[in-house]
Symmetry: C2
Subunit: 212 residues, 2 copies
DNA sequence: CGACCTGTGTGACATTGGTTACTGAAGCGG
DNA sequence: CCGCTTCAGTAACCAATGTCACACAGGTCG
């Protein structure tokens, strides 16, 4: 799996740029949990994710984290682009969610590539897509109550899901006890059926209504 | 005041495009409070603000609003760009904060202009700049307590400020009573001195510490 | 089997922020 | 001065969420 397979934009670059770039991209593999970048750190380059995935999170004072978005193979990291373009430091943390292979496009080369219409367009559109996600997130954390957010989260995971309450809490930036309580409430309303590491969605429509 | 005075990027466009564009930009003036765009509405075009300003806000269910950012003359609206590029609907509301003059670049022309390197670059950089602001906002609403956010807000307004508690509450997406309570607390700690429509900052360092 | 670990259930409590409902003070126009 | 409006202070109460402490169930492993 080469970068160009997952990021076809690279094929559209002129020959000279492309070879220079491919040469600079040294894929590396890191274990799950590796912190790839962190708040207040300067941005070293633009990550192409080849396998695995990066979880981008904001840290709270008490150690909890709020997930912002994930970067899967072929996708890209809006925060990295933003920092590279604005020459600013990171304002979030990026963690390898599983064992992850990625190639880092060095900052200098990124600057040069932004001059290429094809590449610029690529970054451009990734910006546009992610903005909507961030707006959605702002709406959630600012206005939605936890039960709505949890209902929404469950709906995005299929009918029969296998997770722990702790994991769900992490994805919401909350705590296990709250998730347990809310799920119990959902169960009492007949929306879900609960089991150990197991949640079955009985009434998707009801959950959707609750999610607002 | 023409668009090109405030948005010099327009001067960099090739002659044909520029004349076409200038012809299409019909400035209009709207009174304070005009809703220029709103959630779930398709984006008609890209606004160039010539005078006044646009306040972009997220609406809560109960009618309160959370300010996202403002667009002043010469600046631009990241949400509009995002919606135009992603062909998505607006996900926030834009309100004229004062009497505002603006020229709307129609969607079709925007699409065409994105093909122009100079214009694309312009939109590009505005994206990068605003992302950091949005991240900051997410951090605030997700993690910061109201006293921290208020302290931060006060610090951004100079030593001696003339506002009502209600206005501050609006800027925080909160309510007057809370602001009054917190300000009283600040006053008791000697951080500020209060008066009718008047707040004097006595201890900026203390406030900064509180803001974290 | 018995120690142990993980996931879950649960109740008491604290904190934060918002709501309701007043009170009073300052300023203004008549 | 009187009445009105706007701004500010304040107390009681409530809802949402988080914290703490612990109990219990099911599985694993020695």
């Amino acid at each position: 799996m080469t970068p160009a397979d997952l990021y076809p934009v690279l094929l559209e670059l002129p020959e000279t740029k492309r070879t220079e770039l491919i040469a600079a991209l040294q894929p590396m593999t890191v274990p799950a949990g590796t912190v790839l970048f962190d708040e207040r750190q300067p941005c070293q380059g633009f990550p192409f994710v080849l396998s695995g995935g990066i979880r981008v999170v904001k840290l709270a004072a008490n150690g909890r984290e709020l997930p912002l978005y994930k970067v899967l193979p072929g996708e890209s990291c809006i925060i990295s682009s933003s920092c590279l373009l604005g020459h600013a430091d990171y304002n979030a943390r990026g963690v390898a969610e599983t064992k992850t292979t990625l190639a880092l496009l060095p900052r200098k080369l990124f600057d040069a590539l932004v001059g290429e219409p094809a590449f610029r367009n690529f970054v451009f559109h990734l910006f546009a897509e992610r903005i909507a996600e961030l707006m959605q997130l702002i709406e959630e954390v600012a206005f939605r109550k936890l039960d709505q957010r949890l209902a929404n989260l469950l709906l995005g995971k299929g009918r029969q899901l296998h997770t722990t309450h702790q994991q769900l809490a992490d994805e919401l930036g909350s705590v296990r006890e709250m998730v347990s309580r809310l799920l119990k409430g959902f169960a009492e309303q007949g929306l879900v059926r609960l089991g150990r590491e197991q949640i079955e969605i009985l009434d998707p429509a009801g959950l959707r209504r609750l999610a607002g």
